[in-house]
Symmetry: C2
Subunit: 424 residues, 2 copies
């Protein structure tokens, strides 16, 4: 990894993946076709791209149970414990509305209600992501969403991975479909004969899934369009180089576009980490991906002071931030922008990816400046409530009418003034 | 207005305004040009479209004060009182994070921080919208946003409307620019020599503004893309027809695409309201707009039971909902989807547009199924925090490593396992 002196203008931004015109055309065709033709279109695309001939698109309860049983019992228990931890953390995010009593019997309120139905896309391909199921479904359940749908592309033998089915089993999710790609997003957004439409779609996917989510955004809600993963480690001379290197590589192995950055006040650590990364890389199963990520987007910055280093972190606004310094908790207080913060050497970032209870769906590409990780708020909405008594109305109607007329909206003024006449 | 028997499948959805290819090309050119050339591009487009030659793009403090003084003193006081009401309502939405203590000294946390900088677009043209300034700025201030920027197109004499300046004055907003259109969105998103970039852009605008916001979405945050306004009135035989008609017209006058719907259990009221709408329409200054809206998107539905009527409202998920029935508060409890709910005849919808304290930026086009009105949460973000002690790590590292390996992420497993060796 290249070691540079910290300077202004550092950035971890990579260009947003927007796909090309051809991909967008494919996605639009799929969306239109599923909207018009429903299940038939979903089946056609599934056969074409996932290579299996769908019998039932919906996974049966027996299949879910079989998957759960087929998974190694220890792994099932680990997943279950992770789910419990995630639930405990997210339960702190439950909210109630409020009522604000005004004079003369009037009041204002905020009502909080859960979304009716949400859909989670779980990517398929060579790997299975049971942890994604936990991270997306649990906050929705805590929010009180009644209908939770999972869709994921099946293997060529028409099956979903045991880990994904086991996660659904642990959480009690019963509506699971073997559908992937843009056709899954279309089915969730528009509904088909088999799948009723949902109100929000979450979960990562390939470029076709991402483009489809962007296209249906507005008709349904979506979570963020996730970019490649990133980690920034903020460390001083007390950190262990092998641990820093291992953590940098844990994100680098995700994707060749992933980004791993060390900001340190210790030149010695910088050099040690660079050497350690090289050493550890050569034994990593996903060496090729990790090396591409490190070569293209990896960087080590040496800062003169800890306060410069912290400012660099705030400029980066990383998805994941580890703080491996003296007084790490106090340093963390100075960080304004980061998706997830991991304090101290025993809080290696994968602790949060899988198990601790915090969410692993976090804002990438410096969007931690304005965005948050997935949380219970993503599955609720708020309605405002106004109750004005006659007395409050009488006191304020002239003011409201004046304000409306200032904006040229006579109809608004008249509506407010229409009250209170004797009409019987 | 047409009176119909309530049936399944009613909808207030209108096609999303996505602009045409030509408009999108214009917007992309403006965005690219401002990104590349900064202020010069902003000035060029301002001269071209707003028809004034900009001296200073930034409004001086003296101009803000002059605008505030020029506004009618009574109106200034009304605006000030509205601002206070809005602040009081939104202050209930302030949140703190939490800390969840685990065994063995470990803990998880959620930290809440305000966005650093937000930009509010205020549309110009023939009307001025001081109420928009209040509704967008106050929640940002309550959230603790330090830098709040307003941009709005100037008149041909290079001035902003007094009402807008007065609202800025009341709220203490000092950074105001005379820039409109897509060039304003570009300046806010990318920054120029004069205007530093912001993290989030809110506020409505014409099709060019809406398209520009959609294009920069992801690089900065945006609020919703607002659609035309809508109102649904849920009424029984206790409602007054003239009041219902006035309230329907108050939304219809906004826009020829606006939508005004009455759902009632009373056939008599339905007929009276239809007649009243016709009568009141003919005296409305914005008759033409309101008539187009009523003719194209207005509807009266007669329901057999109140529970059918409520279900219809939940299907519509309207931006604004008035409840003019017996036991209106109890009926409101059964509503799951509505942006703003107005209970009883003295809570005419414009009460909330201008004055009561709730926000008037509300989800349109049935998006109240999943979206909320503008609120303090729109101006904060949440970071998760993990602190694991050595003991907690030791207990859980094997589980975390197993879960990582199940997903094929060996580097994640090794990162967690790298801890705890004796290294000195």
């Amino acid at each position: 990894m290249k070691i540079t002196k910290l300077a202004k203008g550092i950035s971890l931004k990579r260009p947003l993946e927007r796909g090309n015109e051809e991909q967008l055309q494919v996605v639009r065709e799929v969306l239109d076709s599923v909207r018009a033709n429903g299940d038939i279109a979903v089946r056609t695309y599934t056969e074409k791209w996932d290579g299996f001939v769908p019998g039932n698109l919906r996974v049966t309860q027996a299949e879910i149970e079989a998957g759960a049983k087929a998974l190694d019992a220890q792994l099932y228990a680990d997943l279950k414990e992770a789910a419990d931890n995630i639930r405990l953390y997210h339960e702190q995010q439950k909210r109630t509305g409020y009522r604000l009593d005004l004079a003369n019997g009037s009041w204002l309120g905020q009502r909080i209600t859960a979304l009716d139905a949400v859909g989670l896309y779980v990517p398929g391909g060579t790997a299975a992501y049971p942890s994604s199921v936990l991270m997306n479904v649990v906050p929705a359940q805590v929010a009180g969403v009644e209908r939770i749908v999972i869709t994921s592309p099946a293997n060529r033998d028409g099956k979903l991975p045991d880990g994904v089915l086991a996660a659904a089993h642990i959480l009690g999710v019963q509506e699971v479909y073997k559908i992937g790609g843009a056709q899954a997003i279309a089915a969730l957004a528009y509904g088909t004969e088999t799948i009723a439409a949902v109100d929000k779609i979450t979960g990562p996917g390939n470029i076709f899934v991402a483009l489809a989510k962007r296209e249906v955004f507005g008709e349904v809600a979506i979570d963020m369009i996730a970019g490649p993963s990133e980690i920034a480690v903020l460390a001083d001379e007390t950190a262990y180089a092998d641990e820093v290197a291992a953590d940098l590589l844990s994100q680098a192995e995700h994707d060749r576009m992933a980004c791993a950055i060390l900001v340190t006040t210790s030149e010695k650590l910088a050099e040690q980490v660079a050497a350690e990364v090289e050493k550890q890389l050569s034994t990593l199963p996903r060496e090729e991906l990790a090396r591409a990520s490190i070569d293209n987007f990896g960087a080590i910055y040496v800062a003169e002071t800890m306060s410069d280093a912290v400012e660099a972190i705030n400029t980066l606004a990383p998805e994941h931030l580890e703080i491996l310094t003296k007084n790490a908790e106090a340093v963390a207080e100075q960080v304004r922008h980061a998706g997830g913060i991991f304090i101290g050497r025993y809080s290696s970032e994968p602790v949060g990816d899988y198990f601790a209870g915090t969410n692993h769906v976090l804002p990438t590409n410096s969007t931690a400046r304005f965005a948050s990780g997935l949380n219970v708020d993503d599955f609720i909405k708020k309605s405002s409530v106004v109750y004005y008594s006659e007395k409050t109305w009488a006191e304020n109607a002239p003011k409201i009418a004046r304000l409306a007329r200032m904006e040229g909206l006579e109809g608004h003024a008249r509506a407010v003034e229409s009250r209170g006449w004797e009409k019987e």
